[in-house]
């Protein structure tokens, strides 16, 4: 980097093993810095693993040559937390959504245009939204645009990295509803990365709890009261109450022992 000093190697993930069954959603929960996003990035091929294997549709991705990623990316898509930085601000919604189709499919312009309208309607927007620029949408609406882009090629797996964390609470439920409906409609699989246990219970079929780069507990269901690991308990205790009478007593140890590595980049 040029600043001098030693380069630190931080082990972001240790011995992580997960399975996602077709048509199901695996929720990965944990606090910031737990390694959840790193896991998502590895699955997407945005980073290479130092050890271990990632199998997707019969191919091992960790050592896949770059030219073969082209085909894999058609089946694997992503939705990020911040929709505004996930899109080109100078492109209209129709161009954002149609980009994957123009890259992969051999469609005429009018077929693409039709597909765009169909996708907009699928995600709860309208045909007139096709001509709008990102800044003309609200956060929730723009997230719908990125979801439309993600399903454009009918992928098998979508990595959802905190897809609703930046949205108003009332909009979060709408977007999760949409994701649930799309999963059922198109038999999608999701890797759902979040710190929100309520959202996980809503959308996921199975759950893995991560702390400091390791999976400390996993369930093949989302009955949160079956979680028994102390860190899982901490996450549950940290969920906000749904009524003032269920106000959580602030635990005295909360301030001391819940920090994940927090490097300068976290």
């Amino acid at each position: 980097m040029g600043w001098g000093g030693k380069r630190q190697i931080i082990q972001a993930l240790r011995e992580v093993s997960i399975d996602i069954q077709p048509g199901t959603c695996l929720g990965i929960v944990g606090a910031s810095g737990a390694g959840k996003s790193t896991l998502g990035r590895l699955v997407l091929g945005l980073e290479r693993p130092d050890a271990g294997e990632i199998w997707f549709q019969g191919e091992e991705l960790g050592h896949l040559p770059l030219r073969k990623w082209y085909r894999v990316r058609q089946d694997m898509q992503v939705v990020f937390q911040d929709s505004f930085s996930a899109v080109n601000p100078r492109l209209k919604a129709q161009d954002i959504i149609s980009e994957p189709m123009r890259n992969y499919l051999n469609l005429t312009d009018s077929e693409v245009a039709q597909q765009v309208i169909h996708l907009l309607e699928t995600v709860g927007l309208t045909a007139s939204d096709a001509n709008k620029y990102p800044h003309q949408f609200s956060g929730g609406q723009l997230q719908r645009v990125t979801i439309a882009r993600a399903i454009a090629l009918k992928p098998k797996l979508i990595v959802l990295d905190e897809p609703v964390a930046s949205l108003d609470m009332s909009i979060q439920a709408q977007i999760l509803d949409l994701l649930l409906q799309l999963k059922q409609q198109f038999s999608l699989s999701y890797l759902f990365i979040t710190h929100d246990l309520t959202a996980v219970a809503y959308l996921a079929d199975a759950i893995a709890v991560m702390q400091s780069g390791e999976i400390v507990e996993s369930l093949d269901n989302v009955n949160l009261n079956q979680l028994s690991h102390p860190y899982s308990q901490q996450l549950i205790a940290a969920q906000l109450p749904s009524h003032p009478r269920d106000r959580k007593a602030f635990p005295s140890n909360l301030l001391l022992n819940s920090f994940e590595q927090s490097s300068i980049s976290s």
């Binding site: 606090a31 910031s32 937390q81 609200s138 956060g139 964390a165 930046s166 108003d168 609470m169 009332s170 909009i171 979060q172 439920a173 709408q174 999760l176 509803d177 710190h195 929100d196 246990l197 309520t198 959202a199 219970a201 809503y202 269901n221 989302v222 901490q234 996450l235 205790a237 940290a238 969920q239 906000l240 109450p241 749904s242 009524h243 003032p244 009478r245 269920d246 106000r247 959580k248 602030f250 909360l254 301030l255 819940s258 920090f259 590595q261 927090s262 300068i264 980049s265 976290s266």
Partner: protein, 274 residues
């Protein structure tokens, strides 16, 4: 009745909008806060709940007079003194120390060419007479309290080197360190993970226990309201549509908009169990 620490009466804020083409200079005023009134009591938390665009942040900025182009009408009294007509130099003494602030877009409140440490320490020293080393130590303690590790190194960094979430926490640390009489917290925990969120709420609670300050807590999240608020005002389109003690709001929401907020919550929407 205890005298309110902060009294806001009929606050109205309007933003100018230019209408017409290049040659027309007509300016129309668009009201974003429409006659808001509330009183903050010492040791109590007033929560304002509303969605984006409801005017809740505008209310906070109007009280602090941080809204350059806006026209503000109405009365804001801090411990009995009217502050709406104060000069900017006088407002600067009030902001931070008398009325603490945790606001959205923290990046816009930091000087980009001064280190975090310089800004934190300068802010502390400008409000209290402290030696530099005492101020530094208060700063590192508070940075650690909001969950930022490596506080010593953090002091030497510049705002651009920190993520939005980290800057948000630095802003919270500064606000807490100044121990204000009134704290305005606008979405202090948005986009922070659940554990950090609870820590921040715990710190606000602790500050209140220690200093008996009044807190105005603005959020879109009913969970934050449930955890910390004593009284709640529901804001929609620049106005309060409902105001009541927190348990009453959750048990018997009156206004249709309030009811729609409750209906939109996740745990209540799933049909059939799993």
């Amino acid at each position: 009745m205890v005298e309110a620490l902060l009294s806001v009466n009929h606050l109205r804020t309007a933003l100018p909008e230019r209408r017409g083409g290049r040659r027309r200079r007509e300016v129309e005023y668009h009201e974003i806060v429409r006659g808001v009134s509330f009183h903050l009591q010492p040791g109590k938390v007033l929560g304002i709940i509303g969605e984006s665009g409801s005017g809740k942040s505008a209310t906070c900025l109007s009280i602090l007079r941080l809204f350059r182009q806006a026209t503000i009408q109405g009365s804001v009294q801090l411990a009995g003194t009217e502050i709406t007509q104060l000069k900017e130099a006088e407002m600067r003494l009030i902001r931070g120390r008398q009325i603490g602030m945790i606001l959205q877009n923290p990046a816009s409140f930091f000087n980009p060419i001064a280190s975090i440490g310089q800004q934190f320490v300068d802010t502390l020293q400008s409000h209290q007479s402290l030696t530099r080393s005492t101020a530094r130590s208060i700063a590192t303690d508070h940075l650690a309290a909001v969950g930022l590790t490596g506080p010593q190194q953090l002091l030497q960094q510049f705002p651009f080197q920190l993520s939005g979430g980290m800057l948000q926490r630095v802003m919270i640390a500064i606000a807490l360190a100044l121990q204000p009489k009134v704290l305005i917290a606008d979405e202090p925990t948005t986009a922070l993970d659940v554990i950090t969120q609870m820590q921040i709420l715990q710190l606000l609670d602790q500050l209140q226990q220690q200093t008996h300050c009044a807190i105005l807590l603005v959020t879109h999240d009913l969970g934050v309201i449930a955890q910390l608020a004593d009284d709640v005002a529901v804001m929609y389109n620049g106005e309060f549509v409902e105001q009541s003690p927190v348990a009453q709001l959750f048990d018997r929401p009156q206004h249709p908009y309030t009811r729609s907020l409750f209906a939109a919550r996740l745990s209540h929407r799933r049909e059939g169990g799993r």
